[in-house]
Amino acid sequence: MTVTTLKEGTKLTVTPEGKMTTSAAPDFEKAIKENISGMTGLVLDLGKVDYMASAGLRVLLSTAKVMHKQGSFKIINVTEPVMDVLTFTGMADIMDVEKA
């Protein structure tokens, strides 16, 4: 899984690409962990992600917890299959999620 990150001052945008399988989630987590310190805003662009396994959800949850102390956290461009998962796991209620 390729993950591109963009830093603009204290705003971080992370754009993963591909299927967020159990084996891909660690790369995603690493990209976030390496860039998150000191960021006051995190935007996750899931426009290129069409599948989310529970390992990916775990990364979203722990990221949300971290950003809760540091600043804002938003998930944008969510595709339909991923939106379904975020909805029935209740993540869509807890987090700021925008459909594509």
Partner: protein, 527 residues
């Protein structure tokens, strides 16, 4: 000009000699001290085995033995023989040859014996190398004093150059042969020292033949060629030794790689063994006896969990909370392997004890969530769906904690129960869960599953999907054949397993496939 060359020659010769002895001492020390022997022995050793000493000893021995042989053959006295040997023309070539041969033989013997005596094989290696080097050096001097003026280069000039090259050669020998060698012996690998015999055995006969020819024909040009050749041989020697050492290094690297691979294979096998134990613990924690409550005819119940290769965290559970209430649960832990399995056990136990204490499904989840948030450093979470079936009325009170919506099969038609979702358990403290109600009529089935079913992938990375599941479960009039003990709950589960298996068509199972099917059969009929 000649005088200058002569002076330089003497200086360089002395530099070379000193350097040679010092390098020899340092090399022996490197190998010797590595093997942790004492310094006195070291000093004595270098004195005795110093190639220059050996050189003198062997040549003296050669002269004496040649002299003796001559004396015996020609009937003269021994002293005359030796005189002839040293000063005469007849034998100087023979002495060189015999001396040279003896020197080589004695070198080999010496090195071997020293190593044996001190129990330090690398010392014999180093000694041997230096002795070989000195053979070449010794033979690279001028073969004759014939200073014919046919060639413009003065012979002393040439000898000077020869010395400088020898100095360079000894430094190269130390840097590229001795140092790697001592590093090698550090690793305690058995070095086949006989390999180092190969350069001398290859080069020396050629050299000797050449030398013999030039000596016999004795022209200055031939002498020059011979000296150039001998210089070349010195460097070729060093190169040959380097190649040998590089080869040894490569072999060692290959051996080490193999050892490492074997070690990794062992570590992997250990992990696999641990995982299979964890998996068997997980599997045996789930109730697998069906029907679990044979006396209760108000419902049919069947459940299965097919673990993926890595221990996952799916589980199901059911409890008879009282005579007329059946609690049933399906859940999926986000963590994998041993931490996931441990968390699974905790979650299962917590939910069960809360349910059995009389709380409603929503209350169970509210309290379980807070309990599971405690000490959850690995930040795992659980999705779960818990329902209480009232066996008298068919009413199901349920709470959903972020789990996949279950399927309700009514009159052979399947629909998803996409009711209000709740947040996952152990994700965040303080969440209040809400209860939902579903009315089951007699014959209705509730099919619960984990994402191992809907997200099963085939080799083209297509997902099994919710549509396919819904279609499969809408069996319409083609009701599956009831099983012996579990009605149609069991065959429905089997049907899904078979279909998923056919869909994935041999692709590796990436997640646990878990399902629970409960069918309401109506209130118990009094006989």
């Amino acid at each position: 000009m000649e005088k200058l060359f002569d002076i330089l020659y003497t200086i360089t010769f002395n530099i070379f000699t000193i350097l040679y002895i010092v390098m020899f001492f340092v090399s022996i020390k490197k190998c010797f001290l590595r093997e942790k022997k004492n310094r006195v022995k070291l000093f004595f050793l270098t004195f005795v085995t110093n190639p220059i000493m050996v050189f003198i000893v062997t040549f003296v021995t050669a002269m004496i033995s040649c002299g003796l042989i001559w004396a015996l053959i020609s009937g003269n006295t021994m002293s005359q023989g030796i005189n002839e040997a040293i000063y005469g023309d007849t034998f100087s070539l023979q002495i060189t040859m015999v001396g040279g041969m003896m020197f080589i033989a004695l070198s080999i013997l010496f090195s071997h014996l020293i190593g044996r005596w001190l129990k330090a094989p690398n010392v014999s290696m180093v000694t041997f190398i230096y002795l070989m080097f000195s053979v070449i050096y010794g033979l690279s001097g001028s073969s004759s004093d014939d200073s014919s003026s046919a060639v413009p280069i003065p012979s002393s000039g040439f000898n000077l150059m020869s010395n400088i090259c020898s100095i360079a050669a000894i430094c190269l020998l130390y840097r590229y042969v001795i140092r790697p060698l001592s590093a090698l012996t550090d690793k305690e690998r058995a070095i086949n020292w006989k390999l180092f015999l190969i350069p001398p055995i290859l080069f020396l006969p050629i050299y000797y033949t050449f030398d013999y020819c030039t000596f016999t024909f004795g022209s200055y040009a031939a002498n020059l060629v011979s000296q150039l050749f001998s210089l070349l041989v010195v460097f070729l020697f060093i190169w040959a030794f380097c190649v040998i050492i590089r080869n040894i290094n490569a072999t060692n690297a290959a051996i080490e790689a193999k050892d490492l691979a074997a070690e990794m294979a062992r570590a992997e096998a250990r992990i696999e063994a641990d995982l299979s134990i964890a998996k068997s613990i997980q599997t045996s924690a789930l109730p697998r006896v069906f029907p679990p409550f044979p006396d209760k005819t108000e419902f049919e119940l069947f459940a299965s969990m097919n673990a993926a290769k890595e221990v996952g965290g799916d589980f199901y559970d059911f409890y008879l909370l009282n005579d007329s209430t059946l609690g049933f649960l399906i859940a999926d832990v986000s963590g994998k392997s041993i931490p996931g399995a441990m968390f699974m056990m905790t979650a299962k136990t917590v939910i069960k004890s809360l349910a059995e204490s009389g709380l409603s499904p929503a209350q169970v989840f509210t309290q379980a969530n807070n309990k599971l948030c405690e000490g959850n450093e690995a930040e795992m979470f659980v999705t779960a769906w818990l329902g209480y079936l009232d066996l008298k009325t068919g009413l199901v009170r349920a709470a959903n904690a972020g789990h996949n919506p279950p399927v309700l099969i009514h009159n052979g038609k399947a629909e998803y129960l996409k009711l209000r979702p709740g947040f996952v358990l152990a994700g965040m403290e303080g969440i209040k869960y809400k209860e939902q109600e579903i009315r089951l009529e007699k014959g209705d089935m509730l099919y619960l599953y984990t994402d191992g079913v809907t997200e099963a992938m085939n080799n083209s990375e297509d997902l099994y999907g919710e549509e396919r599941l819904k279609e499969l479960l809408s069996f319409g009039d083609e009701v599956p054949e009831p099983s012996e003990k579990n009605g149609i709950a069991e065959p429905v589960c089997e049907k899904v397993l078979v279909d998923v298996s056919e869909f994935t068509d041999g692709a590796e199972q990436s997640d646990d496939i878990t399902m629970l099917c409960v069918r309401y059969m109506g209130e118990k009929q009094d006989q």
